[in-house]
């Protein structure tokens, strides 16, 4: 009797379980964070919570190492093999949206209210992706060094001006205490160049492309403002203020910490080791104003829905679920990134009121300018990287920028305007 009853219960339980399994439709999610345990723990937590919170969908995770992610997605697209949900680096999103890898999101109204503008990925008037965080860049400095040299400590409201900043670099160089006054990180080739350096150009009044048409860069990337930027950029290297393209990763990572570089242009992800080294002496300073307002780059990794998914409603449901403040805060605490909302920032250890990295949230909020939202960006980024490296190595500024403009326009022409 009891045996029968027990086995009946077991049978019912099994049915119920299998019922759940069968009722849930599997959605695949591709994520770029393989190798980062903390990130994995958080994303797995979100997925588990989501799978438990409703009965319709079951998300499964496939992780890729960051450097292998984009080629993997492109290969998968070529093979007709894309997942249901994928994450995408902000500036690359328009390229994938244009190529029909992704479809516009359909989130509930008001979900994105209060999000930093730079974490919302828009292309042709539609939102395709949204980020749980952003990254921000600041000038790393030491209070003691600035005070010893009578240098004003700038604020968000009163950043260093161009002349002021340039004079500061000369002052720091003249002390003879440092190998270099200002490290910008030339060792980090690739996306770092457009991400970290195009805001200088934009603050000078130039840009990577004419954002009114997205068809030409003439006059924007090689006009007088851009040339002024280029000349200053080149002078950083000719005056020996900044380590050049041959800088190695070791110097990039240890130069500021060891006191060989006076100032460093670096992202918020490097903040923790620097705080450990200098504690209260460490300052995160806003970008200088080169004439058109201080600027930093915006947009980091974001979630989107693939164009080929059979279940867009499930994919959207997952993304909406992941946008909760507690997850934004968890990512921020876990990997040090800027949370996408004020309410989430308040929940974090570092970005809340009085937190050591609080300034980064406001940097993102006030200064960040997204890289040009165009499918051409992928090519523009490489062209800009080369132009800046060439100028740093002594190329004629006007020639290098002209060549970059020609290259970008040729690429746009070869692609029939990239949909513009």
């Amino acid at each position: 009797m009891t045996t029968t009853k027990r086995s009946l219960t077991a049978l019912l339980a099994a049915l119920a379980l299998s019922g759940v399994v069968f009722a849930q439709t599997t959605l695949s999610l591709w994520y770029h964070g393989a190798g980062n345990e903390v990130e994995r723990a958080i994303i797995v937590q979100i997925i588990d919570d989501f799978n438990a919170a409703q009965d319709d969908w079951r998300v499964t995770l496939e992780e890729f190492p960051q450097l292998a992610y984009n080629p993997s997605v492109v290969s998968a697209a070529l093979a007709g093999n894309l997942p249901d949900i994928l994450d995408v680096d902000g500036p690359v999103m328009p390229n994938w949206a244009w190529a029909n890898y992704m479809q516009p999101l359909s989130l509930s109204d008001g979900v994105l209210d209060g999000f930093l503008p730079s974490v919302i990925g828009e292309w042709q008037g539609e939102v395709y992706s949204v980020g749980l965080w952003d990254a921000a860049i600041a000038i790393y400095a030491r209070r003691s060094v600035l005070e010893a040299n009578d240098i004003r400590i700038p604020s968000l409201d009163a950043p260093w001006t161009f002349e002021e900043f340039d004079a500061i670099l000369e002052t720091l160089d003249a002390t003879g205490e440092f190998d270099y006054a200002f490290d910008v990180g030339m060792a980090w080739t690739g996306e770092w160049y457009p991400y970290a350096f195009s805001p200088f150009l934009q603050s000078f009044g130039g840009d990577l492309i004419d954002r009114s048409t997205f068809l030409t860069a003439e006059g924007v990337l090689n006009g007088p403002e851009a040339v002024a930027f280029g000349n200053w950029w080149q002078s950083l290297f000719t005056r020996g203020l900044t380590p050049g393209t041959s800088q190695d990763d070791a110097d990039r990572e240890t130069g500021f910490l060891d006191g060989r570089y006076a100032l460093q242009w670096n992202g918020n992800w490097a903040a923790i080791p620097a705080l450990e080294a200098f504690g209260d002496d460490l300052l995160f300073l806003p970008a200088p104003d080169f004439g058109h307002g201080p600027k930093i780059g915006g947009a980091s990794w974001q979630f989107g829905v693939s164009a080929t998914t059979q279940h867009p409603e499930g994919a959207n449901a997952f993304i909406e679920f992941a946008l909760q403040d507690e997850y934004l805060a968890a990512f921020s605490d876990g990997i040090g990134l800027v949370p996408s909302t004020v309410s989430a920032a308040a929940m974090t250890q570092n970005y809340g009121e009085g937190g050591p990295l609080e300034v980064f949230y406001e940097l993102s909020n006030q200064q960040s300018l997204i890289r040009p939202p165009t499918p051409a960006y992928v090519g523009i980024a490489l062209t800009f990287e080369k132009a800046l490296a060439d100028i740093a190595n002594g190329a004629d500024v006007q020639d290098a920028l002209d060549a970059a403009v020609d290259e970008i326009e040729r690429d746009i022409a070869n692609n029939d305007g990239y949909g513009f």
């Binding site: 393989a34 190798g35 980062n36 345990e37 496939e62 992780e63 890729f64 190492p65 960051q66 450097l67 292998a68 080629p71 993997s72 290969s75 998968a76 070529l78 093979a79 007709g80 093999n81 190695d248 990763d249 070791a250 990572e253 240890t254 910490l257 060891d258 992202g267 992800w269 490097a270 080791p273």
Partner: protein, 294 residues
Amino acid sequence: MSGRMVGARNERYRVAWRYALLIAVALVFVFPVVFMVVSSLKPDLQLLRDTGSLRAFLPVGDISLDNYVAAFKRAPIGRFVYNSVLVTGLTVMFGLFLNSLAGFAFAKLRWRGRAIVLSVVIATLIVPFETIAVPLLMMVNALPWLGPDGLTFGWLNSYRVQIVPFIADALSIFLFVQFFKDLPDEIIEAARIDGASWWQVYLRVIVPLSGPVFATAAILKFLAMYNMYLWPLMVAQGETYRPVMVGLQYFFQLNVAWGEVMAYLSLITIPVLVFYLLLQRAFIESIAASGVKG
């Protein structure tokens, strides 16, 4: 008598001089490995600070196995090594067989079209893999396969997609051709007169005489396969089939974990070294057999 002693002393000097030279040259070649292994024992910051001086090659400072522990936590290293060794091992095995067979056919057999086919084969050496990767991806994505699930299409996410396209390669074939050419025709003809089939000639005459070539072809192919990056990246979209070089990228985060990178590299170098040392026997034996002196 004194002359003989002088000769012996000269001989000793000569040997000492040879060793000095061997060691001097060795120093030039050994340092990346020393750097790699020594660095794998240091914490990141110290590792990076040491790169500018000879300390890079000395296990000094804060030495521990922490990086290894952390590396194993970060990535399924065992899985990657297993995948790579499996894929590489099978490719090398099938490759040695088919390429040496073809090499024999090109070097020692006369058949119509031989010269032109060989020229085409060698010409394929020129084609850098990067240039055919995309068309190849499209092809393998459409290929059929008869497996336990019946007839399926598309080879992505499998071992076979990492093995089958690379079994035949022009370098190996060329290597075998050039070495088989040096084998005297007389031994082949003698075997033929004894009634051996061409297959038996290959198996009983050619293969036993070609230890060093097989060893050379094996190690070169092993290295090429083991270090593959672009192709597995494109075709293995799950962790299940990921090989070691793709696994290396697990360590290149925003803040590169250099110590773990070095630990991982030291670990994944072990299978290659083991394979090379195993093959050394083939070299040693053949040297002993031919009795070559310097």
